[in-house]
Amino acid sequence: MSGIPREVDEDLAEPETKRTIMLSALEFRGLGGQIIDSIERVIDGKRHAVELALTVLLAEGHLLIEDVPGVGKTMLARALARSVNCSVSRIQFTPDLLPSDITGVSVYNQAVRDFEFKPGPIFANLVIGDEINRASPKTQSALLESMEEGQVTVDGVTYPLAAPFAVMATQNPVEMEGTYPLPEAQRDRFMVRISMGYPDAAAELAMLRQRESSSPLDRLQPVVTTQQLLAMIRTVRAVFVSRSVERYAVAITQATRHDHDLRLGASPRATLQLVRAAKARAALDGREFVLPDDIDALAVSVLAHRLIPSSRLSGGADGVHSGSLADVVLRILAATPVPLGSAGSV
């Protein structure tokens, strides 16, 4: 368990809520491109995962990175955090991790003769939860509650979390030993699940060269300030979503609830997060409005980890067949007509 980062106090003391700066589409795209380029200096050949991670950050969601150990899950989270000049904390989840190890504890201060709150690592802009499925469910839920609420309550006192606040959790596939799989209700809290996948040969070779001397992470400098990041987030919120696109998103999630290959479809929260993520993607693409293509591009990442396959698809096992679930989402996308109508029309 790491200590409380220094920056936390400064950030908490300087709330940015009053600022209403908005970025133009071009500015936004420029900043987004810089962040992505910065991360790509560390993560080779994973542009899709990098873009998704940034999209989640800008859409105020949380990211679940699922893959086998050693493919750069943590590296991605750390590179993103470093590139945007945010406070970062990292929690290594272990089976004996307690909820208070995350949220912080009230300790008795002899000097002031009172309890004093010692904030846990959750009080940071970016929280990296490593191997989240190794912790006990109780600890997991402590993290996930704070993710959803945006605040932490300890001993009856509520402490707001930093803004921006995003959790980037990594997890090993459930088949690995000593893991507690995340319940579906908690998987639903994550906006996007991505899988890193192994790098290709060229990328792996380049990685070897780079890591020879020092960790490339050390060379990363922040490319945007926290203020700029907050402005980007505000800009994303203002991206226009037409009724057609909303209908399209709803049609897709509705379709998951009636699909014969799925036991559990996507929740309304999924619809909400799908549209939010699409807004971030549109902004990163330099647009002020969402296209159905944004929905299409994000649907698998946003929806697949929330779905539970029917016995027909999974053969009865409770495992996550991410491949086949992605296929189901693709099939639904392929079968859902894309509405096209004037912006104002219903």
Binding site: V250, V290, D293, D296, L330, V338
Partner: protein, 763 residues
């Protein structure tokens, strides 16, 4: 708007662009079951072929045709099952057609009976010529001899192959309607009976079956609509056009065998300028009328031969008794050698009454009433034969002796329609009332017509249907007192019947001109000698020929009033009821030979002029009907351009039309694709990019500053780019037969409910 849920394998996945097969590049599979379409085609073509039953006598040909169609479609279907190649099945079908036709019609010169050789092709050529002859000489309904069945098999087999290509290879099942309508239109074009409506309804049902089998997951509504319109159009068009009446239809040129073969025969001869038809020489050195066929039935509308099946016992080696001829009448044996040139007639020109004919090619039969000689297998063309006949020389006394006796079995020759105009019978009475015997009456009638009050004219100044032999025409003829031989002959026969004299009309040739050939006397008969005349029956003598046409032919001794012994007829009463004075005095009562060109008198040139546009209109109408899809599509574009120019149309409208163009060109666009994906499928290009930008802004952005008026140019150039990238055949089909009229690609303004329905449909 209802949203059809596309089948999963065919739908495009937005992130898996290669999932949707290109329809033109991938063999039919999935829901399009080719063999079902093949079966549907077999049924449809078989039913359409049934429609020809009104044209043909014996219906066994149908089974042969269906066998051929089944072989063609079966070979194509089998090849399709074995090979994914698009071109192989039609080629296999074509070879199967050739093979099966060879096996059925010319197996002898072929290798193993099915592989055609050059000799086989010769045999086919001969069959085609024979079919042409056969069609020309036969009346409807015709006997389907081998050559006709051959042509039917080749034609309908080829149409089946065309259907197979159109419906399965090109995946345009709605177009099958055109070849089917071609088969169905054959009876409507050639015969007086329009296609059997029952067959038409069945064929329409079979066509819909083809549509259903061949258009999975498309919008069948418009297809069915256009198909129904085509069928109704094809059905109504002939009715709406003039000339459906049999009189004109009979006279129409072409390979039609009209109901009255005489008229089509006359038409045959009339088509060319004067040419030799036949040469003959007689032992006696005298010239004779040569008869072709007897017209015995007067229906009121026309004179027609009695259509009965020939008795195959009546071979020309031995003719039956001469009807009504008694032993008292003086006769001489005569022998005539005839060499027929170019005469396409199923009746043989022979002098009356023939006893024996030798030297004929193929089998010919005589019919007992008129002793005319007929064949269902051959024509008179090129025949060379010798006729042993009699020269009957009745005396006026014998004819007078016949009195007014009519035996009961001759009463059919007195049949007249109930509604015969009074002017005809009144005229007959006025001419011959005072005559005693039938003979005198006949002479009176003949002289009445040969008198100067009647004028021979091939362009008698009457309107409308003066070409026929009907009683209305005759009434007009009696008023105008001008006409051709057919008018004189039929008028005299009708008037004779009204006076209770058995009468009929004969079609044949005048004796022709004397020509010396190699020192021997012979006679040359040309097309201008085609003629008709009445025959009247006298008890004890039989059928006796008269010649009422002024200036034509020659009179027998018994009929020539200038001959001693022949009773002088009572001069015709010029004030016969209903007879009006001649409009113009007949300065030249007998038509000059040149003027007599068309003395068979059906006036068919006029009929041809009326018949040709009728046929042309059918063709034009069919072409127009088949152009409907292209016109509809062009109209859509034109209207959109106009609306874009005026600012009425949005970028979405322009985009929808671009998608339609893509569908026309068989590009894999679908309503489940986003505009950007669809643009990717269409291949891009700057104009398309601008259109895409506009439609995304129009459709999904909060505000847009796109001026749709600027899009018209982009729309045009995007269309040009798309078309330029397509295969020439695809481009042609897109123009003539745009599939976007059949396939729904419009971006629907879906609601969650309809998307939900779409999802449940798949469950």
């Amino acid at each position: 708007m209802a949203v059809e849920a596309p089948p999963v394998p065919q739908a495009s996945a937005s992130v898996a662009p290669d999932r949707r097969p290109h329809p033109a590049a991938v063999p039919p599979r999935g829901d399009f079951v080719a063999w079902k379409v093949s079966i549907a085609l077999l049924i449809a073509v078989g039913i359409a072929a049934t429609g020809l039953h009104v044209l043909l006598r014996n219906q066994s040909w149908w089974f042969v045709v269906v066998l051929v169609v089944a072989v063609v479609l079966g070979a194509a279907a089998l090849t399709r099952a074995l090979s994914p190649h698009l071109l192989l099945p039609p080629v296999a079908g074509a070879f199967a057609l050739l093979g099966v036709v060879t096996l059925l019609f010319a197996p002898v010169p072929a290798v193993l009976g099915v592989v055609p050789t050059f000799d086989t092709l010769d045999a086919f050529g001969t069959l085609f010529l024979e079919a042409n002859d056969s069609i020309h000489r036969q009346a409807v309904p015709a006997t389907p001899d081998q050559s006709i069945v051959f042509v039917l098999c080749i034609g309908i087999g080829a149409i089946a192959l065309l259907c197979d290509i159109v419906a399965i290879a090109l995946r345009l099942p709605a177009l099958v309607g055109v070849p089917l309508v071609i088969i169905l239109a054959v009876p409507a074009v050639t015969a007086r009976n329009i296609t059997d409506p029952f067959v038409f309804a069945l064929a329409a049902a079979a066509y819909l079956f083809v549509l259903v089998a061949g258009t999975p997951h498309r919008q069948p509504g418009l297809a069915v609509g256009v198909a129904a319109a085509s069928i109704v159009g094809a059905l109504v068009l002939p009715l709406a056009l003039p000339g459906i009446d049999g009189t004109i239809r009979n006279a129409q040129p072409g390979p039609s065998a009209g109901v009255n073969p005489v008229l089509s025969l006359g038409d045959d001869l009339r088509r060319s300028s004067e040419r030799n038809v036949l040469e003959y020489a007689t032992d006696s050195g005298e010239a004779h009328y040569l008869r072709l066929v007897t017209l015995e039935r007067f229906t009121g509308k026309e004179w027609a031969p009695t259509e009965t099946d020939l008795d195959t016992d009546n071979t020309v080696e031995d003719f039956g008794p001469v009807p009504g001829l008694s032993a008292d009448v003086q006769r001489e044996a005569e022998s005539t050698v005839v060499e027929v040139g170019n005469l396409s007639s199923r009746w043989l020109p022979v002098p009356y009454p023939p006893r024996v004919i030798t030297g004929l090619d193929r089998t010919w039969y005589w019919e007992p009433r008129g002793l005319s000689v007929e064949s269902h297998e051959s024509t008179a063309r090129g025949q060379s034969y010798q006729v042993e006949s009699l020269l009957i020389q009745p005396t006026p006394q014998q004819l007078l002796a016949a009195g007014t006796t009519v035996r009961p079995e001759l009463e059919p020759y007195l049949d007249l329609p109930e509604d015969l105009p009074a002017v005809i019978s009144d005229a007959a009475l006025g001419v011959a009332e005072s005559a005693g015997s039938n003979y005198e009456k006949a002479l009176a009638l003949q002289e009445y017509f040969r008198s100067e009050t009647f004028r021979y004219s091939e362009d008698a100044p009457v309107e409308g249907e003066y070409d026929g032999t009907g009683m209305d025409v005759l009434a007009t003829f009696l008023e105008v007192r001008a006409g051709y031989c057919i008018h004189f002959a039929s008028a005299m026969a009708v008037m004779a019947r009204s006076l209770d004299i058995p009468a009929r009309v004969v079609v044949g040739f005048l004796p022709g001109k004397l020509s010396m050939r190699g020192g021997e006397t012979s006679f040359s008969v040309t097309t201008h000698d085609l003629h008709s005349w009445p025959e009247l029956y006298f008890e004890g003598v039989g059928w006796v020929q008269f010649e009422p046409t002024p200036g034509r032919g020659e009179l027998g001794d018994y009929a020539d009033v200038s001959v001693a012994g022949v009773p002088e007829p009572i001069p015709p009463d010029g004030s016969a009821p209903g007879a009006t004075p001649v409009p113009t005095p007949a300065s030249s009562p007998d038509g000059t030979p040149e003027a007599g060109t068309d003395d068979s008198g059906t006036g068919a040139p006029e009929a041809s002029r009326q018949g040709t546009p009728w046929f042309g209109l059918i063709v034009i109408g069919t072409i127009l009907l088949s152009l409907i899809p292209a016109l509809v599509r062009a109209a859509q574009r034109w209207r959109l351009s106009a609306r874009l120019a005026s600012g009425d149309a949005s970028a979405i409208d322009a985009w929808t039309d671009t998608l339609r163009t893509a569908v026309d060109l068989r590009l894999p666009v679908a309503s489940t694709q986003t505009p950007r994906e669809a643009a990717g499928r269409m291949g891009g290009g700057p104009a398309l990019e601008r259109l895409l930008h506009a439609v995304e802004a129009e459709g999904y952005a909060a505000t847009t500053n796109i001026d749709s008026r600027e899009l018209a140019g982009d729309l045009r150039s995007a269309r040009t780019t798309l078309a330029a990238a397509a295969e020439p055949l695809t481009r042609a089909i897109a123009t003539v037969y745009p599939p976007s009229l059949w396939r729904n690609i419009a971006h629907p303004l879906t609601t969650a409910q309809s998307a939900h329905d779409g999802a449940s449909t798949r469950n």
